[in-house]
Symmetry: C2
């Protein structure tokens, strides 16, 4: 099990250490950890947010555990040198086209949500976001209009095969859950969405056991506020997925607890190669203080055990240990508690 | 005062009648009402959702009062014949580039929001959405990839002058409110957004009294759930505005009460020519039953009096009458009450 650890910026290094502590406590056979630079930290050392060595290491690894990137001091760099480009580069270079973002209420933590407790309590959804296409990776630039003005442009596009593979991922995910899939698009305005919808409908013929519905993205943003409990699996493109998955996470209330997996087609010996990261960011304001909650990072490691290494049992053990720690009152400042980064890591490891 | 009334589909005709009742009750001098077909209703009578006669009438009018379009029976028509194309056509043909969508908590109605009452109560924001550009109106279509696959595409773009004029609208709106403007984009990924941000910053030099901030759209979707009370005016492009303004409306909870204005550059004798519509849709499920709440339609008429006819006093009178009716318990089913469409229209008219 070759695991690339990319801690990154801000609180990344601190929370990564606790994820490693928990993985160590599992006493897994034959784990090799590699450490690589990424983000603003990598830019400072190597002049690039995603150095060639790091990319090479990630290509050779079975899984990438990713902390966070983002550094206010790098905001004025040219776009291709900014920390965020590292994660975009990894997604595309490693062909990680499927981003899985579960958002589920945590029993006892409903009060953290801005939604009413009875609405927040019902949240148990999975957003499947396409991660290699859309307006993120189309042709883009600045051009001059016939009238002599600057114009910025970005081409949004999806091809059949891109939609088909993410649709299969989503239908299979729905089969393993409550059997309901909602595809989100803007087919009343966008040709990209019309193709998306047509292909999703085609693929649905292979999954008669999944109930498929379609929703416009503006309505989906409303429904995620009004009644997020109505959703099981949602599938959508890169841009809408970026917006809706962050919105859904915030509806749960405890973004310090939410993990994500980004998977491609490449298989490891025991599963699917992937990149695993908490959905929260680098939180530069609290970096270096030992105040960050590492639970989302630890739960990302659990997702890695499940998806890339076929170790469902270990994944479930880690998740149970986190839940137990929470039940025992081990809470970071983000959850209204006082436990520090290290305290939380140790508490989870002890409960394994 | 030449007012084009486009009732449209579903509940459109019922709620339009009540808006007209309220306008009549104001005994305005020299009002001419013209009625035109639009949406699915127009398609059935004329073979097109935005017939030439309707467009001509709207060009000649000082303001357009718009009900709603959308008809499930038209969902399988070719895109250019679907009801939604009528509103897109009107926006572009009339040059209505600025969509103003106020979203504010209604005292006593906080319980209708899915957000906790203390969070919902703080909402008082205005979304300024650009309405004539972005991926809505760029080149779009289906093409074949080199590999022989179908691919849908849509070009997202903004030119300097398009950003500049909506920025001015937004800065001026902020001057008339709490002096804070948040521009929402995705400048870490999109060149269109980078140009947007650069131009907004340029324009800000002319408004030293407005505090400008920038936010990525994914974060904005989170913040609108977490703490919508932080926002005063938000300005954003057509696509992000579509998503965020619907989300913000739902945060308020009572979308049956929210109105919108779409304004262009053309001046009338007393103000700015515009189109005014409720933000809710055609609600085909309750159409024809006299069950729809016409308050958002009536409040749209108030926005028309203010923006297109400079009748601030009459606008405020209508708004006060709606508030009084609500305070007196006149509530539609959407607000947990039993009043029908006509009851509500009469109740508001009586309170003028
Ligand atoms: C950092 C940024 C480029 C990225 C994205 O937009 O995909 C982030 O928001 C995410 O969702 O992982
Ligand atoms: C009907 C549709 C084309 C329209 C839009 O996307 O602009 C609607 O959602 C709106 O916000 O007015």
């Amino acid at each position: 099990m070759k695991i690339a650890l990319l801690a990154g910026d801000g609180i990344g290094p601190e929370i990564m250490e606790e994820a490693v502590r928990v993985l160590d406590a599992l006493r897994l056979p034959q784990v090799t950890f590699w450490r690589g630079d990424v983000g603003g930290a990598a830019y400072r050392r190597h002049g690039h947010p995603l150095p060639e060595e790091t990319l090479k290491m990630c290509r050779a690894a079975d899984a990438v555990l990713f902390g966070a990137v983002g550094d206010p001091e790098c905001d004025n760099l040219e776009r291709h040198l900014r920390p965020e480009q590292a994660i975009l580069g990894l997604r595309s270079e490693l062909g990680l086209f499927a981003n899985l973002r579960p958002a589920a209420a945590m029993p006892g933590l409903e009060d953290l949500s801005a939604l009413r407790p009875e609405i927040a309590r019902a949240i148990d959804l999975l957003i499947v976001r396409e991660l290699n296409g859309d307006v993120y990776f189309g042709e883009k630039g600045t051009r001059t209009t016939p009238g002599g003005q600057r114009e910025g442009y970005d081409v949004m596009a999806y091809s059949e095969s891109e939609v088909r593979r993410i649709a299969h991922t989503a239908f299979r995910a729905a089969q393993g859950r409550k059997g309901r899939l909602c595809s989100v698009d803007k087919a009343n305005v966008l040709e990209t969405s019309q193709l998306w919808r047509d292909v999703v409908v085609e693929v649905s013929a292979e999954y008669p056991d999944v109930a498929l519905s379609h929703m416009y993205v503006d309505n989906a943003a409303m429904q995620l506020v009004r009644n997020p409990g109505q959703f099981d699996v949602m599938v959508t493109g890169n841009l809408f997925g970026d917006i809706l998955s962050d919105q859904a996470s915030m509806c749960v209330g405890s973004i310090g607890l939410l993990a994500s997996a980004s998977l491609g087609e490449q298989q490891t010996e025991f599963g699917t190669k992937g990149l695993f990261e908490p959905i929260h960011g680098s939180a530069p304001d609290i970096a270096g203080q030992g105040a960050a909650n590492p639970m989302a990072m630890i739960l990302s490691a659990a997702m890695m055990l499940r998806h890339s290494f076929g170790r469902e049992e270990d994944a479930a053990r880690v998740e149970a240990a986190v839940a137990q720690a929470l039940a025992d009152g081990v809470k970071g400042a983000d959850l209204g508690g006082t436990a520090g980064t290290k305290d939380i890591g140790i508490a989870v490891a002890e409960r394994l």
